[in-house]
Every structure is written in C-alpha cells, then in structure tokens.
C-alpha cells in the first residue's frame, strides 16, 4: 500500500504529547503509515552480528541481541468525541552479555553497526564493573542455536491496516449504545500492539518474530445527582493475542451467563455494542443494588473474573525468580518455595489442574521463541492439586536440577533487559459436562461474580482480596438480584482447596492482562489465563461500603 493511499484511508491521524503515560505503550508518536513498515531480516542479521562480534571481542563469553520495533496505536474516546489517537513507534536494540561470569546490558537507538558495537562494548564494561562485587557466576542452561527461523501471531486481519476512521466509528457507536441505555458518561479505548522482534545470540540463533495484540475496552458510568452516588461497569472484553477479527462478533463465541443476569461472555470474538448496552443498564442497576451482608458464601466465578485470581495466586506464586528471592525488594517472594514443594502439600483440591502454555492460540503470551532464544511449549504447574513445576529462564534451570529453560524470558522493549515473566497460566476445564446454570443450581447461599475489579495480594501470595465488576446473589439454586460492596478475602491454599466444581470445555474462555508489572526498573508484560466458570465453597466475603 502506498503512503498516500494509507493516510487517505485512515481519515484521521494525530498524536498526543501530553497523553497520560500508559505502561507498555511508551513509544514516540509517528505517522500511522509507519505502523505498516517492516525491517528486512537480512539487515537485522548484519546489525546483530556487529553487536555479537563486538561483545566477543570485548571479552563476553555469551551475548544476545534483540533488535525491536515496537508499534502501537491507542484510540481514546468519551461520549460523542475522540479524545486522542496516538500512533507510536519505538525502534532500537538491547544487547545482553556475560563477561567475567556476570550479566551486563546496554541499549541503543542508534541502530547502525557502529552504534550496536558501541552498546555491546558498554554492556561488557558494565558486566566487568559488576563482576568485581559479584558472588555467584551466571550459569546458563545449554541452548542449541536454531539458525534463521521466524514466527508470527496467527492473525486474520492486522489491526493497523484497518482505517482509524472505522475504529473510531466503532468506539463512538459503543459509546452511543451506552448513552442510549442510561449511562451518564462513557469512556472507550482500543489498544493495538505489534512487536517486531529480532533475536540473535552467540548460540547461533537468528529469530524473527511478528507479534500482535488487541484490547477494546470501555467504562460506563451512571450517576445519581440527587444522592451524589456514582457506579461504573467495565467492559467484559479480554485483551487477546489476535488481530482486528476479534471485533467481528460470531454467534458461536457468545456464552451466556447464568439465567437471571443477562450477562454474556465472549470467547474469541467480542460484541462491543452488545456489551456497552448491557453495561449501561447494569451501571444504573448498581446504583440501587443491595449492599452485601458479610459472611461465608459459595462463590461462582466467571472466567473473566477468575483469570485475575489465577494470575495473582498461582501465576506469580510459581515464578521461580520470586521463589528464589529475585523480586524480594519489589513484588515479593512466594510461599511456594522449593522446601514447601518438597513437602508435597496440596496447593488446591484434586480438581485443580494448572497448565503453563506459551503457545495457546489467541493468548497474549503466545510466541514462538522467548527473548533469550528458547522455543516455547506447554507444561504442567499443578496436577490434581499438587505443585509439580515452576516457570523458569535459562539462568535458573540448574537451581531446580533441570537442564532446560521453559522459555519464560521477556522484555517490554528493546531498551529494557529481559528477565523472567509469566507464561499463560490456565485452569483446565472440568471433565464432566456442567454448564454455569447447572453449577448455580447446586448453590444454596452464594454469589456469582463476573469481571475484574479491585485486586490485591500479599508479597508471598498468601492473603488476597478481590472485588469484581458485577455481583449477583444466589439463593437456593437461583440468581436472586444484584449485590454491591462485595469483596472476598482468602488464603491462596485454603481458597484453591475449596474449589469443588469446574464447568466443562464449552464454557472455557481467556482472561487477559496487558499491563502486568514486575521488576526494577518496572516492566509490563501481557499474559492470558484460561478457565471455565468455577465454584469455591465457603469463602469469606466482606462489605466494602464506607461513609466519608
């Protein structure tokens, strides 16, 4: 496509210098046309070799290079107007080395052979400075080079090829649906990301990858001016590792929530118009919903809610770097230590089977190779309630007696050093046929929760508190009206041991997070969590209402 044609088709093209900083979207504004450009892998190979050779000449025993072109476009609207359209590009290279047994890292946006060589030399200089106070030498799991290979997210429609005008019209149509159905305010947005990543290492790999992600979302707010009360209902979309096809609804991807809620869950495609209309009605309904009576309840948790609970209480708890103490100063450690695992204590009930997967189609974490050149795969984390493995990178495998990485290394951009990040961590669906209505029928006193809400967990992943987007009382096997002021508190092991029913595969969906933070300097990564609707018995629910 020629530049003029593209710009003409976009209809709109603007940037924002003063848009609030959005983690993971830190790139410089560019013409949308640039979002369709690519760099020839042959050029990247020549540049990468310049860095690898310079690193070796300076004394590195290992080096890897990531040449990254990170593209994003964010569209923000409110009510009937466009607030902002920001198209961003970030291009540069990060070079990681081991010298004198110690890691060093430097990055540059001067992507020339000379610039790459200079950054490589700086990385070696940093490694050697740090080696003077280093105690443990870096030990990498062996990794054979793959030669020149490539991988691409299997998308049907590149969202950057869709005219901006079309995307704006969709968001404004969603806003109109919300306003027509009683919302006082509505904010909507569409995030699109394309990571063009080239990895090369002294192991002999030259890996070219093209990764796509998309996230349409909104927030509908209802206000009662007479009481001063306001309530919001967020979108029930999930960020996905898909192209623009995610925004073409398909009937087969609609999954009805429990009878009496009107809720709809979405699998691999999303109907933003339908969800916006329902959101406005539910935001209004929340203004008069009954405040929950605190106590023990059986919780029926929708996948769009449960994903966050899985993320916090299992995903992060089983990252080996946390277990070993690398995150102790920031996000914390984990109760699931090597010693705890050796005791073979139950993490959850026998129904709980958790799998890590870097290849799951449609997921945010799906890549062909990680950011240290390891081919990705799938492995068990929890089997029938017992912890059986962790998530690892190359320099950690030997600590747990393994000879290979799990491919869990990732950096948010070329200018950040790669380190261990979470794989897609998912709960396997139940093996017996069970719909969400079947599950609700078995609950005498409970609460059904859908959507993400407030979330907080301690630094060793024991005590957590979660809210949600919408809450419905369940009484004697039936949905019995909307609740508000609901949050549940639990201990991770008690909670997962109270899991006593999981719906089958037909209810399975992905939840996702675009901005999972970790590390110092803090970086974000995107990850998905799959599950079917799941029940937990006897969980402590608190009432969060206050007067100020």
């Amino acid at each position: 496509m020629k530049r003029r044609e593209f710009v003409g088709l976009t209809g709109l093209a603007t940037g924002a210098l003063f848009l609030p900083a959005i983690p993971g979207l830190s790139a410089t504004p560019v013409d949308p046309l640039r979002l369709l450009e690519t760099v020839d892998p042959a050029i990247k190979k020549r540049l990468a070799d310049a860095a690898l050779n310079a690193a070796k000449a300076a004394g590195a025993t290992y080096a890897d290079v990531r040449i990254g072109r990170y593209l994003n476009q964010s569209i923000f609207t409110r009510e009937k107007q466009v607030q902002n359209i920001a198209s961003g590009e970030s291009y540069g290279a990060g070079i990681r080395v081991i010298a004198n047994g110690t890691w060093g890292f430097a990055s540059t946006n001067t992507v020339t052979e000379a610039g790459m060589a200079k950054a490589a030399q700086l990385a070696v200089q940093i490694a050697k400075a740090n080696a003077k106070v280093q105690k443990d030498q870096v030990k990498l799991a062996p990794q054979n080079g793959y030669g020149e290979v490539s991988w691409k997210t299997p998308i049907e429609k590149n969202s950057f090829e869709v005219p901006v005008k079309e995307k704006v019209e969709l968001l404004l149509a969603a806003n109109a649906k919300a306003l027509d159905n009683g919302a006082s305010f509505v904010n909507s947005s569409l995030f699109q990301i394309n990571e063009q990543k080239y990895f090369a290492s002294t192991d002999g790999s030259y890996i070219d990858q093209d990764i796509h992600r998309i996230w349409p979302t909104f927030s509908a707010t209802a206000i009662d001016r007479s009481t001063g009360k306001f309530r919001t209902r967020e979108a029930l979309s999930a960020p996905m590792g898909l192209g623009y096809e995610y925004l073409t609804p398909k009937a087969a991807d609609r999954i009805n929530g429990p009878a009496g809620t009107g809720l709809v869950g979405y699998r691999n495609s999303y109907d933003i118009l339908e969800d916006a209309a329902l959101a406005a009605k539910q935001a209004k309904e929340k203004l008069t919903a009954k405040s929950v009576t605190p106590g023990k309840y059986d919780l029926v948790l929708d996948p769009n809610h449960l994903g966050l609970t899985i993320h916090e209480s299992i995903g992060h708890a089983t990252e080996l770097d946390r277990v070993l103490g690398y995150e102790a100063n920031y996000a914390g450690t984990s109760f699931a230590t090597l010693e705890w695992k050796a005791k073979n204590a139950p993490y959850g009930s026998k129904l709980v089977n958790i799998v890590a997967d870097k290849t799951q189609p449609g997921s945010l974490g799906a890549v062909g190779y990680d950011d240290e050149g390891v081919k990705t795969g799938q492995w068990d984390i929890i089997k029938e309630g017992k912890l059986v493995d962790y998530q690892k990178t190359r320099d950690q495998a030997h600590i747990v007696g393994q000879d290979h990485s799990d491919g869990c290394c990732y950096a948010q951009s070329w200018q950040d050093v790669q380190f261990q990040r979470m794989a897609n961590i998912s709960l396997k669906p139940g093996t017996s046929q069970m719909s969400v209505d079947d599950m609700v029928k078995g609950v005498d006193k409970g609460i059904y929760i859908a959507g993400r809400g407030s979330f907080s967990i301690d630094q060793q992943r024991y005590n957590f508190q979660f809210g949600g987007t919408v809450f419905y009382a369940i009484e004697k096997g039936k949905i019995a009206g909307m609740l508000e002021d609901v949050a549940y508190q639990a201990n991770t092991q008690e909670f997962w041991n109270s899991c006593n029913a999981i719906c089958d595969q037909s209810d399975y969906r992905l939840f996702g997070s675009f901005f999972d933070g970790k590390g110092q300097p803090s970086q974000v990564s995107a990850v998905s969590h799959g599950s079917s609707t799941t029940r937990f018995n006897g969980v402590n629910v608190i009432n969060t209402a206050r007067k100020v």
């Binding site: 709109l12 107007q81 106070v133 007479s226 508190q465 110092q520």
Partner: protein
C-alpha cells in the same frame, strides 16, 4: 549528546520552528542518561544503561493538530519531522477541546534540581555502592535484594507563541529489602535524592538489616481497628500505589465537577472550600523547595507555582486541564510534580515513645482502589510491622491487610512527625487512630 545545555537545546528548537509553516508550532526536546543495578541474594542480578535524546514537534492548523518525533538532529531530519507533523495535522479532525499554545511564561528558578555529582555517576560507582550494601548483609548473614537507579535529564520547550523553557534534573533512588535466612524476618529502607553526594547505601542497608533482625518470629494479633504509626515510606512509595498519592491523584477538578469523584457534591458541583480533613492537614507544592527540587513547568508549559491544595483540612485548590479550567471558570492549575505535607518536629522514634498501644508500619504494599466514591483502598503491611506498648516496640507482629480511605485516615489523625523526602515529596510519619485492618497475612 544526552544532556544538552540550554543554548544547545534552544538552538535546535529555534531551527525546528524556522522550518514550520503551521498556524502554531511547538517543539519539545528531552534527553536522559543514567544507569541502574539490581541485586538479589547478595549478588548482582541485572544492570543497564540509559542514553537517549528525542524531539517532539506538534503542529496546528486551526483546531487540527499533528505530532511527529525524531532522534536525529541534522537539518534534513528536523525539516522532515516538522513537515510530517504538519501533514498529520492537516488530516486530523478538529479537537473540541482545542486550546491555543501558551505564550511566553515566567518560571520560578528551581534550585538544585541538577547535581553534577549525580550526572557523573559511573558503572564502577554503582557497583561500589551496591557492593558495600551486599557486604554488610554477607557479614550479618542476611539476604538482601536492592535496586539503585540514577540519571540526569533535561527538557527544553519552545513554541511559535513565544514560550521558552529549559531545565536540567538529576535523580538517584535506592531501595533495599533485607531478609533473615530462616525467612521469618524482613526489613526495608528507601531514599531518593537530586544530589548523590547525600547517598550512602551502607547506611540505608543497616536500617533495613536492623528491621529484618527485629522482625523475626512475629506474633499474630487479631485484625481490627488499631492506632498505627505509618512511616513516610508507608504513606508514599515509588514502587507501588500509595494512600497519599491516591489522595493527590483524586484532586482533579473535572472528575469532581462531573460527579465521579469523592470531591463531587450531591446535586452537582465540587467540594472545594469544604473542610474534609483534620485541621492539622496542610499539603502544598512548591518547585522552589530545595529538598525536592522538581520541574518548574508542566508538560504543556504552564508554570508550576507554589500552590496550596489542602490548608488546615480545607480543600483549597483542584488541578485541571487548561480546557476544563476555561470552561469551568477556575484557575488553570497543573498537577504538581512533587508536594509537601506539613508536619511537626517529632521523629518516628519520638512518636513511638508517645504511644501507649499501637502498631508501627514500615511499608504498605499492593494498594488498590476498592471504591472511588469513598476513596477506599486495600493493601497490606510489609517488611517490618511491630507492636508498640508503653512507648517501646514490644515485639514484631504478623502482617495485616487493611481496608482504609485516606479521607477517613486524615480525619483520625493523632500526631504528625517531621517530613522526610520520599518519592520526590516531603512526607511526615503519621499517627492514626482506628486504622482498619481486616485480616491477617502469613507473608513475611
């Protein structure tokens, strides 16, 4: 070329503006250089270097705006960058919230925002500081995880309406968590500076190490309402959300006027002028404060001036965009860079001495909003939580989860201590009665 002088930066910006044909044009040049070292298990885990200069150009035709950027500074590249911004502007829709660029402004002189000592930090310096910290923990048979991050930066702006701005800044931040080898004790310390001459990693390490040793074998207390002494690092964090930053972030005029803020009034309007906090609560921002030297202008070029946000418990000012300020007929105050909460003269130790029964909190963690209507937040204590009885620390206690609102908290004020710098702000330790802990955490 990461840190350009004022003359060097403005020379580039003048050239950029000379290439412009748009109705209005504004150019912003930013640069940074610095590095970091992260350690864990008394060993360095990662480190990195940062070095970048970038130019952003915003061109406007009427109410249409376009932005382009570049990071090369030859004439041809600069000219292309301006042309691209203008091309995008011609295609853009009109902004319903358009505001013309600001003209020439008077900025206060922000003293000491740049220190040559910090700008001159080398990889060897970082390794030495972190090495000294790790050595202390090795000797005490404790395990540390720490992060040292430093950098120098500049920002320069110029536009076709006559606005001209320039400032250099430096910053160094260090934080450390020290744990006992049996996993039953953990302590924390953090500090940040413009001038690295004040930095001593070893001294901060000893504070965290002492807390770790003191916090071993914590006892469980029942959750409930307690008198707490919140250290400054528990009130403001540069690693996570925090209760006082949450309060400051909610001081936005537009959301209050629109009815979706704790500052919204029943029937419409906002609560500016109302007394919402204890009368000892005064919070202001002042870019000339030498202890927290910060930017003297905002992102859109508005001057940062001394501004009182809360005075003797009364909401005095709300910040807003220029568009909303004009629409609502209110002063167009930008959101401050850093702020000062006035306090007394007491240290944390003095406050402990004056406490019959209470809980000392070193740090709060994973703080997330529960209800924006009441500004209710949840989170947990961490890395040094102690029971105080009769003016002394009696024993460590297990960590708690709290559910509390900074509005309620600042109405339950018992005492305010001496402010110290945390995350670029001056924050006093606070003694609060009836702070709500809702459950216990086994985490150390």
């Amino acid at each position: 070329m990461a840190i350009l002088s004022k003359d060097e930066a403005q020379a580039i910006l003048k050239k950029v503006l000379s290439f412009a044909t748009a109705d209005e044009c504004e150019a912003t040049l930013t640069g940074e250089t610095g590095g970091n070292v992260r350690s864990a298990r008394n060993s360095i885990s990662t480190s990195g270097a940062v070095d970048n200069v970038s130019l952003g150009v915003e061109a406007r035709f009427g109410k249409r705006s376009g932005v382009a950027t570049c990071n090369e500074f030859d004439d041809a590249t600069l000219r292309r960058c301006v042309q691209r911004a203008e091309e995008i502007a011609r295609l853009a829709p009109e902004s319903p919230e358009y505001m013309p660029f600001l003209g020439a402004q008077q900025y206060v002189a922000a003293p000491k925002s740049y220190a040559a000592s910090t700008a001159g930090i080398t990889p060897d310096y970082r390794a030495q500081q972190v090495g000294a910290s790790m050595k202390i923990c090795d000797e005490k048979k404790l395990s540390s995880a720490a992060f040292l991050n430093d950098g120098a930066s500049f920002i320069a702006k110029r536009n076709s309406k006559g606005l001209e701005a320039y400032q250099q800044l430096t910053n160094l931040e260090f934080s450390i968590t020290v744990r006992t080898p049996d996993g039953t004790g953990s302590g924390y310390a953090t500090a940040d500076y413009n001038d690295s001459g004040k930095f001593d990693a070893a001294a901060l390490t000893r504070v965290a190490a002492d807390k770790a040793a003191m916090s071993r074998n914590a006892k469980a207390l029942e959750p409930g309402k307690y008198t707490v002494i919140l250290e400054p690092a528990a009130l403001v964090a540069n690693t996570d959300a925090s209760l006082l930053q949450a309060l400051m972030s909610a001081m936005d005029a537009r959301s209050a006027d629109e009815g979706r803020s704790f500052l919204s009034k029943k029937g419409g309007g906002n609560k500016k002028g109302e007394k919402l906090f204890d009368e000892r609560v005064t919070i202001y921002s002042d870019p000339t404060n030498p202890e927290i030297a910060s930017l003297s202008f905002s992102g859109d070029g508005r001057p940062q001036k001394k501004t009182t946000w809360i005075e003797k418990g009364v909401v005095k000012n709300l910040y807003s965009s220029r568009f909303w300020a004009q629409k609502a007929g209110i002063p167009d105050l930008p959101r401050p860079d850093g702020w000062v909460m006035e306090g007394g003269t007491q240290s944390v130790q003095d406050m402990i001495k004056g406490t019959a029964k209470g809980i000392l909190v070193t740090r709060l963690w994973y703080i997330r909003p529960v209800d924006p209507q009441t500004l209710l937040y949840t989170g947990l204590t961490r890395d040094g939580t102690f029971y105080i009885e009769n003016g002394r620390i009696k024993h460590p206690v297990k960590n708690f989860r709290f559910n509390e609102s900074p509005i309620i908290m600042l109405n339950n004020l018992e005492a305010i201590g001496k402010p110290v710098r945390v995350g670029g702000n001056l924050v006093p330790p606070l003694k609060i009665r009836d702070f709500t802990f809702t459950s216990l955490s086994d985490a150390v």
